[in-house]
């Protein structure tokens, strides 16, 4: 057993209402790159945060080199040789590379010997061909370089086990290639790497073994040589469909949303949309499938006016709405269910009533002149709550006290009751329990049947297949395939989602 670097037995972690990790067994050899593969919400990041001491598990044991350990903090983890590189880097922008590397080190004197540290950073950099100047400030570096600083930081502290949480999500394909080279070199130095991803192609390129998680459980651990992208897609997504919703036959009407050659940037200044083109019709659910970070959220934000498009045009009912204010777009009867309910859609500290009227508070009869008639507002909210079966403890209680499912129901109620011509729903069932999930999907179908054009963005392929009429797969900022659901095959879609070259044979 001496070649096992880390072993986890029966790890279970639950959060209120969610079982994030369900009796997970995982082992990591020395000189190995072991990938954790799974959809968003499968429990990958939770498991890694347990290894890094950010969470402590409710059950289960962790062994490092055969020794039972209790990891209580990232500091403990570092002491055991575990270093985690988070999706969002833990760097201080205004400090230099040296200062970031030193930050948090305990064995330094009062005065930090910068020249010595710079020398050691240079040694590491040269060994792995990092080309990072120790005296640069973090904000001056590209995202790829910042990631290298994170790796230097961990190696500097003597990490023997490196955990990388979706490291390629923020990289260009070229930068990813460079990263894989570096990881290979680190591995051959006798260290172990846990690599987290949901991109099939790169997983097969970089890993030795792959463990697939789905809904908090291990589906299986496989050797790279024994599997294909197809196998992995099947394991990751799972073929069994949870429930089948009855669906009325498709009656598409006129074109409602038309997007032409749309381009845009994400918050890091990377171009995430590179020429999106598709249209959605009245009475149709257009599902956009794809792994996170391929431009989906930016697409939704650009359509709703919360983000600017750098190029291209968006039309709603033949009227151009590109880069208008959210309010003018809203007035065009576009409704939006954002992926992060509490950040954009709702005001956490306000009550259910106050949240219900957010989009119609300035209209009669809810308001009159300068005043809001709260008894009318309460009536209005009561109706929404009843119709959408929202469980609200007290109407005056802050909405943050509601469960995720009930918050989403209320948001959905508010957006649908406006009778929109276009409804944009981003991850509408993420984090919801089975019942609420089914309810939300049912309501989306109802909206479709009443003639609304629905743009559904989801990472849950089951969901897309279940309720969409047309599916567009988004990969690296382009819609790489548009197919009707009847012709869709979960494996093929899974492959395109992972960026497989097969995509070319499926163009529209």
């Amino acid at each position: 057993m001496e070649n096992i670097a880390l072993k986890a037995e029966d790890i279970t972690k639950y959060f209120p209402g969610v079982l994030a990790n369900d009796h997970i067994n995982f082992d990591l050899y020395k000189c190995e790159i072991h990938t954790l593969l799974g959809e968003n919400g499968a429990g990958k990041t939770t498991l890694m945060n347990i290894f890094d001491g950010i969470y402590s598990p409710n059950e289960g044991d962790i062994f490092i080199e055969g020794k039972h350990v209790n990891i209580r903090s990232p500091f403990d983890a570092m002491g055991l040789g575990i270093g985690m590189i988070h999706q969002h880097f833990m760097l201080v922008d205004t400090l230099t590379v040296i200062e970031n590397v030193v930050l948090g080190l305990q064995n330094q004197g009062f005065i930090v010997d910068k020249t010595n540290i710079a020398k050691r950073i240079k040694e590491i950099s040269e060994k792995y061909n990092f080309k990072v100047n120790p005296y640069s400030r973090i904000w001056q570096l590209s995202v790829g370089e910042q990631q290298k600083v994170e790796i230097i930081k961990m190696l500097f502290r003597g990490a023997k086990i490196l955990i990388l949480d979706e490291p390629t999500a923020v990289l260009t394909p070229q930068e990813s290639e460079v990263l894989f080279g570096i990881l290979g070199q680190i591995k051959s130095d006798g260290k172990s790497i846990i690599f987290i991803s949901h991109k099939l192609e790169e997983v097969l390129e970089v890993s030795d073994r792959i463990t697939v998680l789905r809904k908090g459980r291990v589906v299986g651990t496989v050797d790279k040589g024994n599997v294909t992208q197809r196998d992995l897609a099947t394991m990751m997504i799972g073929r069994e469909v949870l429930f089948n919703l009855e669906k009325m036959p498709l009656k598409t009407g006129r074109e409602i949303l038309k997007i032409e050659n749309l381009e845009g940037y994400n918050n890091r200044g990377l171009k995430t949309l590179r020429g999106i083109q598709f249209s959605v019709h009245s009475g149709e659910i257009f599902g956009i499938a794809g792994v996170a970070g391929n431009g989906q959220e930016e697409l939704a934000e650009i359509i709703t006016g919360l983000r600017k498009a750098s190029k291209g045009k968006i039309y709603v009912e033949n009227q151009e709405i590109t880069n208008l204010s959210p309010y003018s777009i809203l007035k065009n009867r576009v409704s939006y269910i954002p992926s992060d309910r509490l950040k954009v859609g709702l005001v956490p500290n306000l009550s259910s009533v106050e949240n219900s009227i957010l989009k119609c508070y300035s209209k009669e009869p809810i308001s009159h002149g300068l005043f809001i008639n709260y008894s009318r507002a309460t009536e209005y909210a009561d109706n929404l709550i009843e119709e959408f079966n929202v469980m609200v403890p007290r109407m005056s209680a802050p909405i943050k006290l509601l469960s995720g499912g009930n918050m989403q129901k209320l948001l959905l109620a508010r957006e649908i009751s406006e009778n929109p011509i276009l409804l944009i729903a981003v991850h509408p069932t993420r984090g919801l329990d089975v019942g609420a999930t089914e309810f939300v999907r049912r309501k989306l179908l109802d909206a479709r049947d009443s003639g609304t054009a629905v743009l559904l963005i989801s990472e849950d392929l089951d969901e897309i297949l279940m309720i969409s009429d047309t599916i567009g797969v988004i990969y690296e900022g382009r819609v790489t395939g548009i197919i009707s659901t009847e012709e869709a095959d979960i494996r093929k879609i899974g492959l395109i989602m992972g960026g497989s070259k097969l995509a070319n044979s499926m163009g529209h």
């Binding site: 959210p326 950040k343 709702l346 957010l358 508070y361 300068l370 005043f371 809001i372």
Partner: protein
């Protein structure tokens, strides 16, 4: 090992319980300080209570201290509801006092008392509002941090006051002291309790508390402010004009601080001078927080803090307690009260070491 967990819901019972325990804890800390001064803490506390509420005179003094706190804190509540951190009531108070003093000192001599006081009231409101518009516009259009801008404007306001008091507004018969001429009776706010300093300002304060409550709870503007304060992104998404609301709310907030300045000089001091107690502008921040941004609670918290101030003043005189001790008691209570916030927001429990 102690662990903190965020509380989801804070019941009213818990709030009151924690507040009462905090005040008691503050009193115990204060008692240590009093003991060090070789005085029996129980006697001292008894004297404070008597000094604050014991007689008609002392109670009216408590209300005198509470008046500016009420006016300023209810204005701050409006700004804080919007998550606009107005630290500038100190300056807004001063400018309000200067504006209204102008009419008291140099206004037309032959107008009625009612008219002069009305003009002074509006001048006070306008002065505070003007001083508040500056940071509001900077924040609304250029995203200048209001904590910095309002704080710095406080110093500017103080130096403007000094400029007038050491300059041409100084009373030539003041033997060089930085005081203006005393206000004529026409420029003095009427008293509402005979033979006391409690004046109409208190009524202004209570009306202001009601108006602010009404704005927050009943109007579209109040709703928009709460949405902006709770989630600016949602406000943007719902088409709320954030810039306009920031400016209007700050005009109201500043105007009330300006009115507090006016009420202080016209109702209590009866002249403009350097020492017009603008630090009410800072104490009112504490009042706003202790009352959980509820305008009516702010009235009571203001009276409580007013009682501490006037009771503290009384024991200085009657028990020869040094001023420092009084300040220690006040600070200890405030410190513990503010510290107790953490008990409201987090559940604290100890976690046994896992194997």
């Amino acid at each position: 090992m102690l662990k903190f967990e965020k509380r989801e819901n804070v019941s009213l019972k818990l709030r009151i319980l924690v507040s009462v325990i905090s005040v008691l804890a503050g009193l115990i800390i204060g008692a240590i300080a009093i003991l060090l001064a070789r005085i029996n803490p129980l006697t001292a506390y008894k004297s404070i209570i008597i000094g604050a509420f014991g007689s008609k005179y002392t109670f009216t003094e408590t209300l005198v201290s509470a008046t500016p706190l009420i006016l300023i804190s209810v204005g701050l509540i409006l700004a804080f509801k919007m998550s606009f951190w107005n630290i500038g009531a100190y300056g807004q108070y001063i400018i309000g006092a200067i504006f209204s003093s102008y009419f008291a000192l140099f206004g037309p001599p032959n107008i009625s008392r009612f008219l002069l006081l009305t003009i002074m009231t509006f001048a006070g409101l306008a002065g505070g509002a003007i001083w508040a518009i500056i940071p509001a516009v900077l924040r609304a259009y250029w995203e200048v941090n209001e904590v910095i801008s309002t704080l710095l404007l406080n110093y500017v306001a103080l130096y403007i006051l000094k400029y007038f008091m050491y300059g041409f507004w100084r009373d030539p018969t003041s033997h060089g002291f930085p005081l203006s001429k005393p206000f004529t009776l026409n420029a003095q706010l009427p008293k509402i309790v005979l033979n006391s300093r409690t004046n109409l300002g208190l009524v202004f304060g209570i009306i202001a508390a009601f108006i602010i409550w009404f704005i927050i709870k009943k109007t579209k503007f109040g709703y928009e402010i709460r949405v902006i304060g709770g989630n600016p992104k949602a406000a943007h998404y719902a088409g709320i004009n954030v810039a306009r609301n920031v400016i209007i709310a700050m005009i109201i907030s500043g105007a009330l601080a300006g009115l507090a300045g006016m009420a202080q000089i016209s109702g209590v001091i009866h002249m403009l001078q350097i020492e017009i107690n603008p630090s009410y502008g800072y104490t009112a921040i504490i009042v706003a927080w202790l009352s959980y941004l509820d305008p009516f609670a702010a009235v009571f918290v203001s009276i409580l803090l007013g009682a501490l101030a006037s009771g503290g003043y009384q024991i200085q005189i009657t028990m020869q307690v040094p001023f420092g001790i009084v300040a220690v008691i006040e600070s200890a209570i405030l410190f513990v009260l503010i510290g107790s916030e953490i008990l409201m927001r987090y559940r604290i429990y100890s976690e046994k070491r896992r194997l």
